[in-house]
């Protein structure tokens, strides 16, 4: 063994090098300091969820005229007011709604809507205009903004195997963690630790530099996440579904006091061009059961007041159904918000206008970036114009 290595490895024993210096102050924070530490949980429904069969405008005859075979009967749905009701597969959400923990924002979209999954998902994830191509996500830019608590990759965690564009900033990005223990164990490999240490100063902008940078960030985060998360066991029951497991992991992270502000999870299977009722019904049930378990769990552990949950999809679907008992790609959609401290619970704004359409599609009433702006200003404590590249007025749901 070389002397240089020996010295280096001796330094390693203390574990000190794993934690970059700038992390220290946060490590030192006691649990008490964490009260009031607000979390945002984003749930992405991929494929373009049909909002009109999620929160159903049953009080509008046009809905039944345009959806002859896939409309939900008034007798089957869960009525919220005399205009809108929930898809019966969302039964688990009724309790949250009645408790004032849920808010429904109707007709959320953007000008000149794009009907391609990828493009529209990119628009939502980057917070761009329809004709603007951004390579950073809105949460990623929040990380870039250097807010007091967003210096570390674990400030934004995606409970998944891969990281979404929404979580990637220019200089910082979130971290994808499906299983914190597994990630931590891989980082214990002596050969890897040696490389991490040896390459701290050799980072270029090319792909090799990118790989090393990712590796170094992984090291500083994996250690912290693992050590913190293992201090808490989730007591509540969650449905045994992918989304259920993801939200259970988020609960573990939140309750263990992880210094993470944004969590990101997703559920796919909403691209219902054919046989929509069965397919969307299955996915909605998975969604509602997991969310209800999560919200009630957080209520039990006293974290609901510090948590805001937002559900979105890249677009809604066309008002008129197609010939194969499905719906084609559409535009504006509802965004669902949950939390213990909502300023305006229930139905936030009027039900979608099914008559004044644009090419058969809903016209948006609320820009999705006004929803983001609200979250950024009032929940994540940064000025939204810094992240969204122009000032949005925001809404009043928190």
């Amino acid at each position: 063994m070389k002397r240089r290595d020996f010295l280096r490895n001796t330094a390693l024993v203390s574990g000190a090098y794993l934690i970059p210096a700038f992390l220290k102050p946060f490590e030192a924070l006691a649990m008490n300091d964490l009260t009031g530490f607000k979390n945002l949980v984003i749930i992405q429904l991929s494929g373009g969820n049909d909002g009109l069969n999620t929160v159903i405008p049953y009080g509008n005859d046009v809905y039944y005229q345009k959806r002859k075979t896939i409309a939900v009967n008034p007798t089957d749905l869960i009525k919220l007011d005399d205009m809108q009701g929930l898809n019966p597969n969302l039964a688990a959400l009724k309790e949250l709604y009645d408790q004032g923990w849920m808010s429904i924002i109707n007709s959320v979209g953007y000008p000149n809507p794009d009907r391609s999954h990828f493009r529209s998902m990119d628009i939502w994830q980057t917070g761009s205009e329809a004709n603007q191509f951004l390579s950073t996500g809105w949460i990623g830019r929040y990380l870039d903004s250097n807010c007091q608590t967003c210096k570390n990759p674990y400030t934004a965690i995606e409970v998944d195997d891969t990281l979404s564009l929404a979580m990637k900033g220019l200089t910082k990005k979130g971290i994808a963690v499906q299983d914190p223990n597994k990630l931590f164990q891989t980082t214990r490999e002596p050969f890897f630790k040696d490389m991490v240490h040896a390459h701290q100063d050799h980072l270029n902008e090319d792909n090799l530099g990118y790989l090393y940078k990712t590796m170094i960030e992984t090291y500083s985060s994996a250690d912290y996440i693992q050590k913190t998360a293992k201090t808490y066991q989730v007591k509540a029951d969650y449905p045994a579904t992918g989304l259920g497991n993801q939200l259970k992991t988020v609960s573990k992270f939140i309750n263990s006091g992880l210094q993470t502000r944004v969590y990101y999870v997703s559920l796919s299977g909403f691209d219902t061009h054919t046989g929509q009722q069965a397919q969307q019904g299955r996915q909605l049930k998975i969604y509602a059961d997991a969310v209800a378990a999560f919200i009630k769990d957080l209520k039990q552990t006293d974290k609901l007041d510090d948590t805001l949950v937002m559900t979105f999809s890249e677009f809604g679907r066309r008002v008129e159904q197609n010939a194969s008992n499905g719906t084609d790609h559409g535009t504006a959609n509802n965004v669902l918000i949950y939390g213990g401290k909502l300023k305006k619970a229930g139905i936030y704004n009027p039900a979608p206008d099914l008559v004044n359409l644009n090419q058969g599609d809903l016209q948006y009433q609320v820009d999705f970036r006004d929803v983001y702006a609200t979250v950024l200003d009032k929940w994540l404590d940064v000025n939204n114009s810094q992240i969204l590249n122009k000032q949005f007025a925001g809404l009043d749901f928190v």
Binding site: L12, H117, D161, E189, P190, N207, L208, Y210, M215, A323
Partner: protein, 459 residues
Amino acid sequence: MNNFKQIKHLYARAAFGIRFEDLHDHEHWSVKKAVKKLFKASEVNEPLLAIDENIDLRYRLNQMEETRKQIQQDRNQQEKKLNTAWIERMGTTDAQLREKLTLFWHNHFACNIGNSLYAQQLNNVERKNALGNFKTLVLEVSKTPAMLQFLNNQQNQKGHPNENFARELMELFTLGRGNYTEDDIKQSARAFTGWAFDRNGEFTFRPRVHDEGEKTFFGKTANFCGEDIIDTILARKECASFISKKLYRYLVNDTIDENHVKQMADVFYNSNYEIKPLLEYIFTADWFYEDKNIGNLIKSPVELLVGLNRQFYISYQNPDVLIQFQRALGQLLFRPPNVAGWAGGRNWIDSSSLMYRMKIPSIILNAGLIEFEGKANPEDEAYLAATRKQQLNVIKRVQAQPDWTKFMADIPKNTSNDEIARFMLEPVANNLEIKEASQINDIKTLVIQLVSTPEYQLC
């Protein structure tokens, strides 16, 4: 003349990497000769024939729950069989260029369906035309049951057009965004009404549901059929540019050089979309061998696994493990995340996938052990001791056999550690590993370390 660097680069991009003995043999070839040999070896087109039953035909009304379960199990088995058959093919075939391009088209015409027979059929269409003519390829892909089903063209009927296929045809397969209008989509969808497939998985045209009316497409009005639409699209230069750009990202660099792409598009367009001249042009261009284009592409998970399999002659007793690796790394063949396929490049890399990528080679080659000399650290020692204790379990679970004897025999006597490192890693050698490599006595340890680096993720 020694073309070590060029030949190695060519094989890293046009194939899945080169073995030591082959490089030793080919390094005195000219680039032109090497390219010619690559095409020669890929002249043969051997379809994948892993699946011979259309399981969809087994379903009946009012089937017993048990029967349905059995069908589902068999369906899963078929999927694994098809997947691993292709992985094995890529890892052993001499027609490397054909498979490499088939993998490109597999991602380009991304399709994710539950019917493995149809998936195999589409894959074979892509393989057959991989180095052929792009127009033929588009047309044949458009007529496969896999694509007709995946993009809902079975439901595309007169009076109720389903636009899914028409949209993806232009957005993803041919022109790219911004080169057509929403109206072009609506009109062309009508031209594809009636394109369908029958019970036997054969393409069939159903005149009764075909819209015979006039359609206005790219400014021309006529009673266009689907073939007319594809002709019109390919007559546009934007199509040649779009494919060239995507191929550039796959074979050359993530960062587009507009000038190089333009040259490629010209060649492609002027040859009426023949793929072979385009590839020859790329592989013999001087810029292809510039330093900035060497060792700077992030291997896809499949390229990483296949590269290992080729280099170390690995055989898998338990194919399930190949599926698990693909899942963990974020690329399961035949199961792209969406119609746009895998995004590729840096999108392959995030915290967890990078750690898996660096660990998997040692799991396959050495039951998870990466020997390391820094033994003064008790934590490290404990880790390595625990890994050694686990080795039998890893072997039992992974059941993969690399042929170390053959691998070692390929390496000429007296090859220095430095040369081995330069051979194993694509990035231009100036890194610390190489310096440190010279101090390792045991070649196997050296090789395991080399394949466990970030550098090995690049090609």
